[in-house]
Symmetry: C2
Subunit: 457 residues, 2 copies
């Protein structure tokens, strides 16, 4: 079934895409201090657009970190209220030399748009905006349901500001459900709703040995080496089979339901294809008694992301560094509690720390896993909307990633989240050559239009 | 006993120091491509000075890497010939924010001159130059012995060019002994000759997992992580007690003689003072059944210097890197063979490499340990010269560092090296705030003057 708003969205596709490109040109890297102004520029870009298309009470909300953007339209009396979330910040673009086209010069190739943030999450944020615009335009300045929009600029760096805001402003954000656009389709033409996310505890272990960097010839054999200490510690956190060795780590892990496991088995997933095309490694690793989907969606993991310290430029320097650190994160599953896991992890790291070394654990981010029920009317409406747009039944999946805000919407606002996302598994999130498949940008826009129209009838 | 040359050296101390400052201002960092021209500038600085003070046949010798500088004066008929070696390249200055004064703006504080290269090795190179100048000036343009000078600009980066040059030009460099100025005094006022050096094998293990960087949420649990693989590998190379676990690693280790061990025990060494003031850690580490001097001078070690790869900037990035590497070096002692050790290390690393990961081992440098006898006339003359200048008996020590050229002088030129160096244990070699104690710069100059005068009588 089509509608005037869907027609409007189709007629304006080329403009929508050009606007998205302008948005993608802003290098809003939230983790890098030198891009602070760019993050703010992206916030203003969103606020201006909200205002232009018809939202009211648009504001850029100052925080301790990067700003939030809010806007609402609340005149659909008797209709439900949606809280629409997306983020306008992006990951760093390194390693730059692996990008085919520059990360902040959006480039079209093979029906994809390549840029940092194309799919995570500026493209999906813009998909929401263009759905709202289409609905306003086709309905004489009205929306079929009430809508509150809240966008953040710190998703890639822990999301502290929105965490505090949601926690302290539950009345202002009060809604019936959240629409979160930051996930992906299971396969290119398969309408998908994400109903589960892993949690995350992201830490940095900071180790100190000697008071200053020392020459490894002169002092090697007597001076503590914090890099080697980190290696000793981290090597004992996980074994070669992918099992995490922190005492009590698996105590609260809850298995997915039998029905869910059965449904996953029927998904179109080819492990060999995944290994070759997505991962590109000669084998897959991890706990091999679980399927790949099981272990990436519903098993906890531990990874090391980088080890700053010592000499990392090309060539050789014979230094025993005074300090080094390791970025170590854990993905959590239901019902692991992030605070409990952090405590167990911290205790274990401390117990493993060799003599001569002192460690401090810094927490970059922390959030629980979440599973959303599939029976409520919002999931139902979004399922129907995608069925119309794609002409196929929707599949329910989980994601191994973490969207802490979804857990917080559940806890603080007591609302379910509809995670309707239109990325693809090979979109290179957080990696060079991130892309968004352009037809999905359009289908996502139409799906949100129809979702709200169905809810408004 | 003083001499006209010693008087000249004393009268010109302030100028010698100002010239050294000019030399130190050149950031001749051999390991960094962007400083290639600075390294050449430092070579020219040395060549110009050799020419100015009276050397003949001065040349800048082109190589595949950084140039060598040569000059000679060979008119002391019937007298011995010295081959004088020092290097004009320096280590990188990072971490820059820990320098009290900038690394390439030489600054005097507390009778020290602070700068990268102050003691390693530009200050000691300049000490040789000023000894030569004083001898030329006091002896009507003549030197008391024959002198060949060879300086290199790749010592901090493996020394390939001089290795090849010494190997292919033994006739040109033919001498009776080498004077190598790149070591230190055991204590501030204690005349010291270094008679042993550890060898070095410096490698980089390059590991590759997936084809591209991956999001740790989406792929964590299935994708190989090369950083974690390196951690697994390196954790098994050495145990917590400092014992290296590579099979056969200790096979050829030769103990120091009983006399040497006894002499080391009588050196003025306070382990607690060393721990507090030099290392600045709460304990010393390593093989505690050996004394600190034994294990830093005559026991092999293995260290990790840096692990490039993944995300190392401030903040968090949830990436599973496609590639990572680790800079790992081993210090060797007599009679370990570097090629044999490299083979054992490579085989062991390969055997430890987990599935899903491929590793390549790059060798940055490689040289054996060396021990010089103390009975020859050159060591005798240098001992006497230092006795005069310091008014004390000379002690014989080893150094844990590596000067591969000393081994090569022994092997290719069949000559002993007199390692007469005037650094101090707290000079912060390879670390922030490197310094050279100014009185030692002057005493070093005078010691070389007297050394050559004694040999020339």
């Amino acid at each position: 079934m089509s509608s005037a708003a869907v027609k409007y969205a189709r007629d304006n596709q080329p403009r929508f895409l050009e606007e998205l490109k302008d948005f993608l040109r802003i290098p809003s890297i939230s983790t890098e201090e030198e891009h602070r102004d760019d993050v703010r520029k992206a916030a203003k870009f969103v606020a201006d657009e909200l205002h232009r298309i018809g939202f009211q009470n648009v504001e850029i909300i100052e925080t301790k970190g990067h700003p939030l953007v809010y806007g609402d339209w609340l005149h659909a009396e008797g209709k439900p209220t949606a809280l629409c979330y997306a983020h306008y910040d992006v990951q760093p673009a390194e390693p730059l030399d692996e990008w085919v086209s520059p990360p902040f010069e959006p480039t079209e190739r093979n029906q994809n748009i390549y840029a940092r943030g194309a799919v995570d999450d500026k493209g999906q944020l813009w998909m929401q905006m263009k759905a709202f615009e289409s609905l306003f335009q086709a309905n004489h300045g009205k929306l079929p349901i009430n809508v509150k929009v809240i966008c953040e600029g710190e998703e890639e760096v822990g999301g502290e500001a929105i965490e505090e805001y949601v926690h302290t402003q539950p009345e202002k954000l009060k809604s019936d459900f959240a629409l979160v656009s930051d996930t992906e389709l299971f396969a290119p033409d398969l309408p998908t709703l994400c109903v589960g996310l892993r949690g995350l505890v992201y830490t940095e272990i900071e180790a100190q040995g000697a008071a200053t960097d020392l020459h490894s010839g002169i002092y090697g054999g007597a001076a503590p080496n914090p890099l080697f200490a980190l290696i000793e510690i981290i090597s004992k956190l996980k074994n070669a089979q992918g099992k995490i060795l922190i005492p009590g780590f698996y105590d609260d892990v809850k298995k997915p339901s039998a029905a869910e496991l059965k449904a996953w088995k029927s998904l179109p997933f080819d492990e060999e294809e995944y290994r070759k095309k997505e991962v590109g490694s000669n084998v897959l690793t991890g706990e091999d008694k679980y399927s790949v989907l099981y272990r990436t969606w519903a098993r906890p993991t531990l990874e090391v992301h980088g080890m700053p310290g010592g000499y990392v430029a090309p060539g050789a320097k014979t230094v025993i560094p005074a300090k080094a650190s390791a970025k170590v994160s854990m993905r959590l599953v239901p019902d692991q509690n992030p605070d409990d896991i952090l405590k167990k992890y911290t205790d274990f790291v401390n117990s493993l720390t060799p003599k001569g070394i002192s460690v401090k654990i810094k927490v970059h981010s922390k959030g629980p896993a979440i599973v959303v029920g599939t029976k409520n009317k919002f999931v139902k409406a979004s399922t129907d909307a995608m069925h119309e747009v794609f002409g196929k039944d929707t599949v329910y999946i989980r994601s191994g990633g973490s969207i802490p805000i979804v857990a917080q919407f559940a806890n603080d606002l007591k609302i379910p989240s509809v995670m309707m996302g239109f990325g693809l598994p090979d979109d290179n999130l957080h990696a060079p050559n991130e892309k968004f498949h352009i037809p999905n940008f359009y289908r996502g826009t139409e799906s949100i239009v129809r979702f709200f129209e169905i809810l408004g009838t």
